[in-house]
Structure formats: C-alpha cells, structure tokens
Symmetry: C2
Subunit: 194 residues, 2 copies
DNA sequence: GTCTATACGGTGATAGAC
DNA sequence: GTCTATCACCGTATAGAC
C-alpha cells in the first residue's frame, strides 16, 4: 500500500513504518523503497534522516528500555534467597506491557539480525539478560545445566508466548496472561526440585 | 570457507550446506554463491539440481517428518480424558531427537520464511499443529484463551528451549531435558487448575 | 526536506559450450 | 554435471537541483 503523506516525514514516522515492515516481512526482505512508498516519499529522502538501512535498524534497537538493568540492580538489593527467583521473574514478565510487545514481535521475527547486532555497539539486550540469569541461577537449589536452561526459559516466557500466539487470534492480554502463568509454572517446578 | 570437493555435488550435499547456512545466516541473507563456494562448485551448477533458491528451501521443508500426523492419529485412538494431554505432549516433546533439532534450529532462525511457505503447498507444519492443539484443548478443564495459549506453549517447549539455548554452551541433551521439564511444568499447572 | 538522476555492486537466473 | 559468459533487476548510496 502506498500512502499519501500529509506532512514531512519525520524520523519517528520512518521508524514506525520500518518497525512494522521489519516485523511483518523481515529486515532483509524489506527494501528501502517499500518503506519510502509507505510514507509517500522517495527512496533517497530516507538518507536525509538516516545514514542507511542499518542505521534505521540501529535506531530501533536503541529505543529499547533498560528494564533488565533496573531489575538486575533491584535483585542485588534483595535478600539472596531462592524465593527471590520467583519474585524477580514475575517482575520481569510483568514489566512487558501490550505496547512493549511490538519490540518482542520484532525480535521474534528477526532473531538473527538481533543476534548479529549483539556483538557490536553496547549490546544491552543479550549481555544484561545473561547477567540476570547468572544472578538468579546462583539461587537455584539444583544448578544442573537443564535446570539453568529452564530458568532461562522462564525468563523468556514472554518471547515464547508471543511465538506461540503468532498466526492466531489471541490478544495481547492473552499473551501476557499466558506468559505470566508459564513463568510461574516453570519457577514452581524449579523451586520444588531442591 | 571454500571447500575443495571430492566428487559431484549431490542434491543431499547441497541441502546439507544450505540448511547449515540458512540456519546460521538466514535464508534471505544467504546467497547461492555462498552455497556454491562452500561446495567448491560454481553458482550455475546449482541450477542443474534445483530450479532455484526457493526450490532448495522447499526441499528442506518437505524433508520434515510426519510426527504430528502420527501423534494426532494416536490421540484419536485414546480414551478422551484430561490426562491424555500430559501423555500426548510428552510423546510430542520426546519425539525430537538431537538429530531433529537441526530442523527446529532452522525454523527458529527463519520464522517468517517458514510462515510464508505455510500458506502454499500442503503445509503440514502449521495446520497439523493446530489440529493437535484443538484436539487437546477440548480436554482442558479450563478452556479460557490464556489456558489454551499456555497449552500451545507446552507443545512448543522444544522451540522455546532451542531459542533459550542459542548463543550458549548448552548441549542438545540439556535442551531436550529442559524442554521436557518445561512441558511437564506447564501441563501440570493447566491440569491442576480445573 | 524532498526531489531527480545516476552509479555501483551483487543477486537470482538463463543459454550454451564442454 | 559443471563450466563461462551474460542478463535484467534490485538495493544501497551519493551528487546536486529546487
């Protein structure tokens, strides 16, 4: 669909369209011409706002929040007991509003692109998530690899719920509820073991 | 890496390399030249074996097994009680050997590509999985959307485990064990509700 | 801030020699 | 079965007019 534009294309508008197309068709499969068409401008006009395609992607990734850092810091201030795992995971899962699901959907649709960018720049997604896992894994009664991996799965419940809901009529509320219930079930099983 | 080849490139060899590259770099980001280089042949030689890039992808997708159909048929022959859910999900998760994780990894790395192909051809991945969900959802004590979605998450535990293990040193055995434990935890929670 | 025009490389793909 | 040569096309990117 080619949209008639009302005013000048802003960075925010470009990012909005790019996020939508990257999520629907994938980063690699989306051309700058498609983004420009959707905005009703010409392809070279995008280069006034961004250095190139990768720069648009970088801007989208930089928009992420710092919930992971905040949670990590919160954890360090709590008494280090196994029950902290449950509280922390629930805090994490519940920090995702319906609005933030857009970001999750983008990452789910473009797992390799996100992973490629993890290496460069600051990389606040992956590494902080790993620190989070490490901090919580230390509290596990049974710290075998399978258990640690299951803890990781619990933290990634939102991603799993989003993936499970693709191509279905489930609502954002359903997804958040299922992610929450799923995380609880995993954590309960992990804490019951030890 | 450019490989010296010993004999003629077979369809199987091409598929092997393609699966590896598609998984590592993504379908769109992988060029036919890269596949040819890896095999030590020239790009046009691939066209003797396959009609084109998409044909290679199709061949890979057609290689999938029919575990879903078999499980669906098995379910229909069992007494339709809530406990059947647990048995069925465990059968499903345990049908994935370390070997079959290659397929899961490919699908995880290329979610949109797989989804695009679901529409065309026979599509045995998605639709059969949906039938599986429907058959099991009918046995749920509580059939609210969030519960049905969580059932879906339980079935997709292998995918979630693979995703959770990417960029980590977890072994295939760890992944299968965590997927199994995760599925059990989800199902137990679902059955305890009603 | 957006346009037209243009250059460049790489891609999927085909024809035809061997 | 593999090659060389070649194609049209597309996406990225830049220069310069308005």
């Amino acid at each position: 669909m080619i949209g008639r534009r009302s005013g000048p294309a802003t960075r925010a508008a470009i990012q909005r369209v790019a996020l939508e197309l990257f999520t629907k068709k994938g980063y690699e499969a989306t051309s700058l011409r498609e983004i420009a068409d959707e905005l009703g401008i010409q392809k070279p006009s995008l280069y006034y706002h961004f250095k190139g395609k990768e720069d648009i992607l970088r801007a989208l990734l930089d928009e992420r929040g710092d919930e992971a850092e905040q949670l990590l810091e919160w954890i360090s201030r709590q008494p280090q007991r196994p029950e902290l795992i449950r509280a922390a995971v629930l805090r994490w899962v519940q920090s995702f509003s319906a609005e933030k699901l857009r970001g999750i959907r983008f990452l789910s649709a473009n797992p390799l692109v996100a992973r490629t960018f993890e290496g460069r720049t600051d990389d606040r997604i992956g590494s902080t998530l790993n620190q989070l896992i490490d901090a919580l894994a230390g509290l596990l009664p049974d710290r075998s690899p399978a258990k640690v991996l299951q803890l990781r799965m619990a933290l990634l419940s939102i991603n799993a719920a989003v993936d499970a809901a693709t191509s279905t009529p489930f609502t954002d509320e359903d997804i958040l509820a299922a992610a929450n219930a799923g995380a609880i079930a995993q954590i309960d099983a992990l804490l019951a073991t030890g």
